[in-house]
């Protein structure tokens, strides 16, 4: 913890300033306050799992995280507060919680992309619990007023009502040719979600399979990651594809064109988060068109 005077501290994970009231966990993101920051030699900071039964405050409500393998976010909603989520992550609710559907814009495109067409809104008062049914960690991301982040699709768990949700084309794609057909590939998904807290602070919960790691990129600094390993990034971080072709093959052999690594380049400034569980890269033919990519032949 970075001490700022006697009365406040800044959480190194969510970077929010809190009153130093001796709590064992950060009231904004649930990160433990009594552990050392664990940073790898290359600069990745391990996001510590939220402790069992840790409480996070938002608005006039609280969120309590329980469980270790497949954690549950249990929210005690105040009358004035509401949250939204995809309906299949609802684990249990009190009958007094008002559940309503929340239609999203651009329905057909959402159906095509395999993301929920309708979100569910839970209005307090009462308890409602959310869980993604995969082993992993819940990441709590408090957002300051007008702060936004970009989240890869299918990571979203729940957000408070004042957090706006837009979804945009990821604009990261390439095509390959299979016979007469052109195949389109979207290594980070076809769409990317953007969450922005409007006017007042908000809370966003994500579910990341495996462990998650965070780092800052300086202006112009680049790093290559597995495309499906990205969880979220600051909107200021740019992303584009990078193809690497290994040395030792003849230039005209198909192996040369297919034996390639497909990376996602992230370019700062800004913060990024990755997860340790990601999809195995798909095998595909030679690349014809891209959304903009760099290439390296070794």
């Amino acid at each position: 913890m970075t001490m700022q005077g006697q009365a406040t501290y800044t959480c190194p994970y969510c970077r929010m300033v809190n009153n130093d009231d001796g709590a064992a966990t950060c009231p904004r993101c649930g990160a433990p306050v009594d552990i050392r920051l664990r940073v790898s030699n290359s600069g990745w900071c391990k996001q510590p799992p939220i402790r069992d039964m840790a409480r996070i405050r938002f608005g006039r409500s609280t969120c309590q995280i329980s469980g270790a393998y497949v954690p549950v976010a249990e929210m005690e909603l105040h009358d004035d507060d509401w949250v939204y989520f995809s309906h299949h992550v609802l684990l249990h609710t009190e009958p007094r919680v008002r559940l309503e559907s929340m239609r999203m814009q651009g329905g057909w495109n959402r159906v095509l992309a395999g993301i929920p067409l309708i979100m569910m809104k839970a209005q307090g008062p009462g308890f409602v619990a959310i869980s993604a049914d995969h082993p992993g960690e819940i990441l709590a991301i408090p957002l300051e007023a007008n702060q936004g982040i970009d989240v890869v699709e299918h990571q979203f768990l729940v957000a408070t009502g004042n957090v706006g949700y837009q979804w945009n084309n990821s604009n990261v794609w390439f095509t390959t040719q299979s016979g007469d057909e052109t195949e389109w590939h979207y290594p980070v998904g076809r769409f990317i979600d953007r969450f922005i807290a409007h006017n007042v602070p908000g809370l966003l919960l994500l579910h990341a399979p495996g462990n998650s790691f965070v780092r800052d990129l300086g202006p112009g600094e680049r790093i290559l990651i597995q495309p499906s390993g990205l969880i979220w990034k600051d909107p200021s971080v740019q992303m584009f594809l990078h193809f690497e072709y290994p040395r030792g093959q003849y230039w005209f052999s198909s192996a040369r064109w297919q034996a390639k690594s497909i990376w996602l380049t992230l370019q700062g400034p800004g913060r990024i988060a990755i997860k340790s569980v990601f999809e195995r890269p798909e095998l595909c033919g030679s690349v014809r068109k891209t959304s903009g990519a760099t290439t390296q032949y070794w």
Partner: protein
């Protein structure tokens, strides 16, 4: 002499014990209860050992735990045969006809349960990340368990299965066609379940209700009524496909956090 009461199973233990002799729950850690009253099933420490009848059970591993039994002469356990991980060659095996015939085939449940008799060692595991939930059953208890969730039951427990009634429950309940029912009569018994993900338990008062995701249901006292209710909420362009299980007390309800969710648009 002072005794320590286990917060999970209420058994009395000697003061020097760090885990319950009846269910293995840590005695030196507080029961974790969320603000809304859900208790976490105790996370058994690696190599925790507890007793039933004249036999012992040791739970090993944490992500996909294994229950290893040292069965004494005269003790026996029953289980679905595919949860057996290893056994000593000398442990006698028998089969128990469940009496369901074609109904069980239709319900996707095994016709025959296996029985392992002591003396000897045998180990069980369901091959998925989760927790072993240890439920000591006092005489005169009835417990309903989601199908394919039970790991072992001791020989003093009577096993039967109940059909989930009502078409809505059947089609949208997410618990299959049948539930396993475990009944103890004059003697106590021990039941081990495998919960996927983390397991939580809540005790409902008479008339108290809670709505849960049907795929998250794990077990309940048979006094708890379970009905599937359709929520008046759109979940797609044309459909109202959200169903929740309404649990009506009195009694205990157990849920798991990694669940089967059903297809939706």
């Amino acid at each position: 002499m002072d005794r320590i009461e286990c917060q999970w199973c209420k058994a009395q233990n000697e003061p020097e014990r760090t885990s319950c002799n009846t269910c293995g729950a840590p005695l030196d850690k507080r029961n974790l209860v969320s603000d809304s009253g859900w208790s976490e099933a105790p996370r058994l420490r690696d190599m925790t050992e507890f007793r039933f009848s004249n036999s012992t059970c040791q739970v090993e591993g944490e992500i996909v735990p294994v229950a290893e039994l040292a069965l004494a002469q005269g003790d026996a356990v029953f289980f679905e045969h595919h949860v057996m991980l290893w056994k000593e060659p000398a442990v006698p095996m028998a089969a128990m006809n469940t009496g369901g015939g074609m109904k069980r085939t239709i319900g996707g449940m095994p016709h025959i349960l296996s029985i392992a008799q002591g003396p000897g060692r045998i180990a069980f595991s369901r091959d998925a990340a989760g927790e072993i939930v240890v439920l000591p059953l006092h005489p005169g208890m009835e417990l309903d368990v989601r199908e394919h969730a039970f790991l072992i039951g001791t020989h003093s427990i009577n096993y039967s299965f109940v059909r989930i009634k009502g078409l809505t429950n059947l089609l949208h309940g997410g618990s299959g066609m049948y539930m396993d029912r475990f009944i103890t009569q004059n003697y106590p018994g021990l039941l081990l379940l495998h919960g996927y993900g983390n397991v939580f338990q809540k005790t409902l008062q008479a008339g108290e209700k809670i709505l849960i995701e049907p795929g998250g249901f794990l077990y309940k006292d048979s006094s708890v009524a379970m009905n599937t209710v359709q929520m008046d909420i759109k979940t797609g362009m044309m459909r109202r496909g959200m169903y929740l299980a309404e649990m009506n007390g009195p009694g205990r309800v157990g849920i798991q956090s990694m669940y089967v969710h059903h297809g939706s648009e």
